[in-house]
């Protein structure tokens, strides 16, 4: 199993450590039309560029005149002009594998290789748009853009076509304007006034209410007078409801229409990395340094989460030891911590990046996932920190849960029952147990730090001994092969776990 997964893997599963450094990504994709959105080629090679690479503009600089270029080949061509030796790399003779690119920001739609973009420019623009600074601002409407071409494209059309309703609302599109205008009261009142003056204009205009043939048993919300075939003229404006109060709020949604994207917090804090490890933003260092630099990058990232290891240290001892040597705490904190800067997901629910969901054409999900992988996935997912517990909101407080194992948070009150009837749920849901174990162990109360037992501050809440409870849970549920990791842990009531190594 390939271990070097620092920056790339293929969608179909085999990995190759492509250095995604800028100066080696020289193979220009053959000139072709824009890729369609959707599923990339499953055999394509997935490339993950660092934020710096993606944001980089002109990193290849001519030493003579200091002109900057985005690509090495462009620089080399330029150097010819100075009569300098130039070196253009030939496109490799073997068949060029199609490359697809993912966004480095975890939690982003395009972070998932199945949602990779097939186009380098596309991923750069995406990264800029979604995770970048909005430096360009339209003068007319003050809309902000991160990508210059977007800004230019907008400026061309901004204010060119404007439809204004008499009520004051502005529209950029004719059909929304017309639809609004049809129902807008300001217009209706004017029309009504016109009607009283010019009745001859539309003699046939009528509202005809047809009584239905079988009157509905229950009262319809309306009770139309049976005016069969008697045209009723629209005359007095008093017939029409006045809804002026609803008009001003309408400006807001319409502004939202024009707004391309609400501002997003930048999850992956690029600038911090710069300050910490200036040379070692792992992905653009040269090949031989890459592994060291990656370590450096992550060390740098971990430094921002120094708080977490100490939290682990202070929780009950068995929990720390589950991840055996404490020197490896840092990567674990990477997996489990709620540190927003690592995962690009703000813990405060404040415009979280749009999350792309299961693509349709993926094979049906395999129930059997390794618990480790699930732990990590669940770690990402669970780092919400927001208080929107559905069940809490629904008032489900079944504190009288018959189970002895209150692993859940005190808020939730929905105790996790021991799977004593494991006979019933045995076979088919083996994968489920791993899923659940992975998730439930990691996330007790939502807001607190995720220590292994998932108890955090909820420990002291009168629940039965959580450690004992957890081991009982592990015992009764019975893990599958995925429990290997825990099996190697030393000090935890390992007797329970040790039994289960497959």
């Amino acid at each position: 199993m390939p271990v070097d997964l620092d920056n790339s893997s293929t969608v179909s599963g085999d990995a190759r450590s492509v250095s995604s450094t800028g100066n080696q990504n020289h193979n220009k994709p053959p000139k072709k039309k824009r890729n369609l959105p959707g599923m990339p080629d499953p055999k394509a090679e997935v490339i993950a560029l660092s934020p710096k690479t993606l944001m980089a503009t002109n990193r290849f600089v001519c030493e003579i005149c200091n002109k900057g270029f985005q690509r090495d080949q462009n620089l080399q061509l330029h150097r010819r002009g100075h009569n300098l030796p130039w070196k253009l790399r030939q496109r490799s003779s073997k068949e060029v594998r199609k490359k697809v690119y993912v966004c480095p920001v975890s939690g982003c739609v395009h972070h998932d290789p199945a949602r990779a973009l097939g186009d380098l420019t596309g991923i750069k623009k995406h990264f800029c748009r979604k995770h970048g600074d909005k430096k360009y601002k339209c003068e007319k409407c003050s809309k902000k853009y991160a990508v210059q071409s977007d800004w230019k494209a907008h400026s061309k059309i901004c204010g060119t076509k404007e439809y204004r309703c008499d009520c004051g609302t502005l529209f950029s599109r004719k059909d929304s304007f017309i639809t609004h205008r049809a129902f807008c009261d300001v217009l209706a009142e004017e029309t009504a006034m016109n009607h009283t003056h010019t009745n001859q204009l539309c003699p046939q205009t009528a509202v005809v209410l047809q009584p239905d043939l079988k009157s509905p048993a229950s009262a319809a919300p309306l009770t139309p007078p049976p005016t069969s075939n008697e045209p009723a003229k629209i005359s007095s404006p008093s017939v029409l409801p006045v809804e002026s109060s609803s008009e001003s709020p309408e400006n807001n949604p319409l502004e939202v229409i024009m707004d391309e994207e609400p501002p997003r917090t930048i999850g992956f804090n690029v600038s911090d990395d710069h300050s910490r490890t200036p040379r070692t933003i792992g992905f653009n260092a040269s090949d031989d340094h890459s592994s060291n630099n990656n370590k450096g990058v992550y060390a740098g990232l971990f430094a921002s989460s120094t708080a977490s290891p100490s939290l682990y240290a202070s929780s009950t001892p068995p929990s720390t030891s589950l991840f055996a040597p404490s020197s490896s705490m840092e990567p674990i904190s990477l997996c489990l911590s709620t540190n927003p800067s690592l995962f690009g997901r703000p813990t405060m629910a404040q415009d979280p990046p749009p999350h792309f969901l299961t693509p349709l054409s993926l094979p049906p999900p395999q129930p059997a996932m390794s618990a480790t992988a699930l732990l990590q996935k669940a770690a990402q997912m669970g780092s919400t920190g927001s208080g929107g517990s559905l069940l809490r909101g629904l008032g489900l407080v079944s504190s009288a849960s018959s189970s002895s194992m209150e692993l859940s948070s005190h808020d939730l009150g929905l105790g996790l029952l021991p799977c004593s009837s494991s006979g019933g749920s045995g076979g088919g849901s083996g994968g489920l147990k791993e899923l659940m174990l992975g998730n439930s162990c990691v996330f007790g109360p939502k807001q607190t730090t995720l220590d292994f037992l998932g108890l955090g501050r909820a420990v002291g809440n009168g629940s039965s001994n959580p450690v004992g409870g957890l081991s009982a849970l592990l015992t009764s549920i019975g893990g599958g092969g995925g429990m290997n990791v825990f099996g190697t842990a030393g000090e935890f009531s390992g007797k329970d776990i040790g039994r289960r190594s497959s």
Partner: protein, 433 residues
């Protein structure tokens, strides 16, 4: 991946780049959890149900990202299903109790609402173009509007009739609009009466010099709109009048064969429609399949489609905004209907495009393409929205007709199609413009 990744600190752990074959995005994990929960419910396993609910509850959130919000809504629906299903789940009945009341939109709110995404406008543009083309030369146009959006398509239709169907000799045709009022319509709910709605439309038409009549018919989708059909049969035949039936995301509320104890009303309705000899029928529906009688399969379909509205919401509605709550409450209603309701109560029986087309052909209709101009109009409209929206132009193998499908990030969302009766017989001669 596992051991090495966790224990060896020099190997950066980058979630999302699993070397295992199954790509696990968060959504995948969530989907699996939800399916496990569903399985537990179906097998009446109270313990497992409780456990899965607990886990999902920790991950889902009505304030989180789109996966979380979808999961939150699905979880709520699953709980509701379990609670009504069996006494084994009686502990959940507390949680399943309340349903949020759905917002009643004012017309102005609704008008703005339908333009927040191309979801509806896409169908409006395509259908209006086809209708306009079909009714050229008629002196009277009778439109039966069966639309989820309460006539939001009509103002633009009136406008195009006013501008494109006039010439020096003739004023624009008389427009007769028939709408159906059913007892418990699905969301979005309208806050005013249909009479008031009609009044507004008629006066708007007057401003464009279009004479208009408005008629409300009480009918029920659950019985295949039988009273509508009856009324249409009773309508006197008017010379040179075009009959157009515009079906915008409502036909799927007519039960189909998956609701076993009722006759296949959907196909029956279409055949009855054919018997009325309409000039055109436009059919716009969401391209998904919620008809499976296998609950797990249905849930999977639901998950694989409903992520779209939550995902698009992020592009146009700010988190926590009132509008987003309305929008997502409406989605939640639909999810609840597919998950927690059974029998006649489960009205959201979406069928895939191919099945609809089969029905139309069986009912003796033949497809009509939209043309380049419409394609351009749709594209222009899409450009004004978020970058993920697109359009597919699908040529159907069976009849070689090109139809349009609205896509979000490559996934099919809504399809638009236009149909005319095969071998149509004209009652009176009419002048082609």
């Amino acid at each position: 991946m596992n051991k090495a990744m966790i224990l060896n600190p020099t190997r950066p752990v980058w979630p999302g780049f699993s070397s295992s074959k199954s790509l696990c995005g968060d959504a995948n994990c969530m989907e699996q959890l939800l399916l496990h929960c569903a399985n537990a419910i179906e097998s009446n396993d109270a313990t497992l149900t409780q456990q899965t609910i607990w886990v999902i509850n920790n991950l889902a959130s009505s304030d989180g990202d789109s996966t979380q919000r979808l999961a939150s809504s699905l979880l709520r629906a699953l709980i509701s299903r379990a609670a009504t299903k069996s006494p084994a789940f009686s502990f959940l009945s507390v949680a399943s109790a309340s349903h949020e009341t759905l917002h009643r939109f004012s017309v102005i709110e609704l008008a703005a609402f339908v333009d927040l995404t191309p979801w509806h406008r896409f169908g409006f543009i395509a259908a209006n173009a086809a209708i306009l083309d079909a009714v050229k030369g008629y002196s009277s146009v009778h439109i039966v509007d069966l639309s989820l959006t309460h006539c939001m398509q009509i103002p633009t239709l009136i406008d195009s009739m006013a501008t494109k169907l006039i010439n020096k000799e003739q004023p624009p045709p008389l427009l007769k609009l028939t709408v159906v009022l059913s007892e418990s319509p699905p969301p979005p709910l309208l806050g005013i009466s249909y009479e008031e709605l009609g009044l507004k439309l008629v006066s708007f038409a007057a401003t464009r010099n279009v004479a208009m009549e408005f008629r409300i018919i009480y009918s029920s989708y659950s019985d295949g709109l039988s009273s509508l059909i009856e009324q249409l049969r009773l309508d006197p035949l008017v010379c040179n009048e075009a009959l157009v039936v515009n079906c915008h995301m409502m036909l799927h509320y007519i039960p189909n064969d998956t609701l076993s104890y009722l006759s296949p009303s959907r196909s029956l309705f279409l055949k009855e429609l054919r018997d009325l000899n309409p000039t055109m029928v436009t059919l716009i529906e969401e391209d998904a399949d919620f008809t499976s009688s296998n609950f797990i399969a249905r849930l999977r379909s639901l998950f694989n489609y409903m992520w779209i509205p939550y995902d698009t919401a992020d592009t146009f509605l700010t988190c926590g905004s009132e509008q987003r709550q309305w929008y997502e409450a409406d989605i939640g209603w639909r999810i609840d209907n597919v998950v927690a309701k059974e029998g006649a109560e489960r009205v959201e029986r979406l069928e895939p495009k191919s099945r609809w087309f089969e029905r139309m052909r069986e009912a003796d209709f033949t497809g009509v393409g939209f043309g380049e101009a419409v394609a351009r109009e749709v594209q222009t409209m899409l450009e004004e929205h978020a970058a993920g929206w697109g359009m597919k132009r699908d040529v159907d193998d069976s009849d070689d007709v090109e139809r349009f499908v609205l896509t979000w990030k490559g996934h099919s969302v809504v399809f638009a199609s236009a149909w005319v009766p095969m071998n149509r017989v004209d009652g009176c001669s009419h002048v082609e413009a």
